[in-house]
Amino acid sequence: MTLAGRDLTIGYSDRVVGRGLNVALAQGEVLALLGPNGGGKTTLLKTLLGLLAPLAGEAAIEGRSLVSLSIRERARRIAYVPQLHTPTFAFTVEAVVLMGRTAHGSLFSRPSAHDREVARQSLVRFGIDQLAERPYTMISGGERQLVLLARALAQEPQFIVLDEPTASLDFGNQGKVMREIRALAASGHGVLFTTHDPNHALRAADRAYLLRAGERIAEGNVAEVLTKTQLEELYRAPVDTLTDTTRGTSAFLPG
């Protein structure tokens, strides 16, 4: 099963952000979306989530156009993990994760015992079930990101789309979130995430998609696409490469 965008022109009614974009994401695969600010990452993300209709071309899941699916049908296939934000109201962690069950109930329904069980298992999977009763506003940023992942998992989707999941997290939690992204792919989810750090793409993704000013610069396996020259072209800035010759791994430093 794939989530794919074909010949996409993306943007808003008054502004075209990108043209001629082709993206495909299979289940069990992690795709990282990289590019400078204002390059169209978020717009592409929203288009692939079905939140924004493409101006031309088609975004589809299992060959069915996202626009033709109802909001509930989409939510049962694709989950969205937004950028970390502090919510207005102090819902408990369990209440936040239960919101992930919304698309599985009718308009007036209350969460069933099954919904509560799915939510609980989601929390257990990320090792945060002990936080269930805590207000979502009173836990750490790293814990909040895990709660949002648990909510996405509670949607029982095939695909999970994350907007800068590692931004605003401390070093340790960045690693934890990347490990969880790998684990989600291992359990059969297709994962798409945006990041400002090519190292995170190297660490967590199978493939990378480089987007600059609404145009695809490169796409392919992370080892092939994420190179000094490609990154310098993508960000129009100098990049240093560090290579561990004994293990054969690389990392990048800006400047």
Partner: protein, 337 residues
């Protein structure tokens, strides 16, 4: 979630019970608690009460309608306030954010200006409130924006200001000896003129709106998230927002039409309710309703007993609400806000 809401709801219920007892017993003609229970109990069983007929009259005919109205108006404003605060993701929002009160005010002063009867005035106020919010909503939807909530609030502010100018104009043109005092009194809010015939037109819209909000309680949790996040969770935010605004406006307009403008309750009571049971709508709505009813009963009792003449409710709620609001601003970091 699994944590019980019972302690919080019990506190709210006690406030409501205290409000009911105080409102029925205190006044120019004091009624003891025993007499009150006797009258209500006999009435419920269809027996003749042992208390004097005067006591029965005071409880059932004099204070009864006013108590019922305070209960309904207080609950309605608090429930609508909770709904709007969730919908606009802002704890500092009151139920008239979209112009329900300004519309009702213009309707009422026009009714007084043309010397319509009390029924005509209430009807105009009710229709005015609904029409103002409908206008705000249409304007907000026409101005396509990536932040529909912000546009809606700004449209509400602008239309509210225009309606306020309309109220000012009608007051300026009004007869200063008869009409102007009536307008001023209405704008400050009062339940003094409530009669039995007011209760049905109040109960109907309040019941309908409240039932809709309660039915949507689980979706209202999701509606308090940013729009795109809520849609990605499977909620059709556009239609649902219209339903919630319509239900909360129905409730607010019916209340304002009966009582005039009573500020603060819809702003303050949902905060107290959240402090008791948390922000989860399935428990926040009942807690707000109980507390709002109890709160307005206590204030209305104060309004009719504290001074030789009735004190307008809007003034009392402002005197109590302002310090509370300042405390709220100082304490915004509290977990339940």
């Amino acid at each position: 979630m699994r944590q019980s809401a019972l302690p919080g709801l019990t506190v709210a219920l006690i406030v409501l019970a205290a409000g009911l007892v105080v409102a029925f017993t205190i006044g120019r003609y004091p009624v003891s608690l025993a007499e009150l229970l006797d009258v209500l109990w006999s009435r419920a069983l269809g027996r003749a009460p042992s208390a004097p007929a005067a006591v029965e009259n005071v409880v059932l005919l004099v204070r009864g309608p006013r108590v019922m109205a305070a209960l309904l108006v207080g609950s309605a404003l608090a429930v609508a306030g909770a709904a709007f605060q969730g919908l606009f993701r802002n704890p500092l929002v009151s139920p008239d954010i979209l112009g329900a009160s300004s519309g009702a005010a213009l309707g009422a002063v026009i009714g007084i200006f043309f010397s319509l009867g009390i029924f005509g005035i209430e009807l105009l106020a009710f229709v005015g409130g609904l029409a103002a919010v409908a206008a705000v909503y249409v304007i907000g939807s026409m101005l396509r924006s990536r932040d529909p909530i912000l546009v809606l609030v700004l449209a509400g502010v602008v239309i509210g200001a225009l309606l306020g100018a309309g109220v000012g104009l009608v007051k300026y043109l009004a007869d200063p000896y008869n009409q102007l005092p009536a307008m001023t009194f209405w704008l400050l809010g009062s339940l003094a003129a409530t009669s039995v015939s007011d209760l049905l037109p109040l109960l109907g819209p309040v019941a309908v709106g409240t039932i809709v909000l309660v039915a949507l309680r689980w979706r209202m949790n999701v509606m308090s998230l940013p729009d795109e996040e809520a849609r990605a969770l499977g909620v059709s935010t556009g239609p649902l927002r219209i339903a919630i605004v319509a239900a909360a406006t129905l409730v607010t307009s019916a209340s304002v039409a009966t009582s005039g403008i009573i500020g603060w309750i819809g702003l303050v009571v949902p905060h107290l309710a959240r402090a008791l049971v948390g922000p989860d709508f399935p428990r926040l709505l009942p807690a707000s309703a109980l507390l709002g009813g109890g709160f307005l009963l206590l204030i209305d009792t104060l309004a009719r007993t504290a001074a030789p003449v009735e004190i307008p409710l809007g003034i009392l709620t402002a005197v109590i609400g302002t310090p509370f609001f300042i405390w709220l601003l100082a304490d915004m970091q509290r977990s339940w806000s």
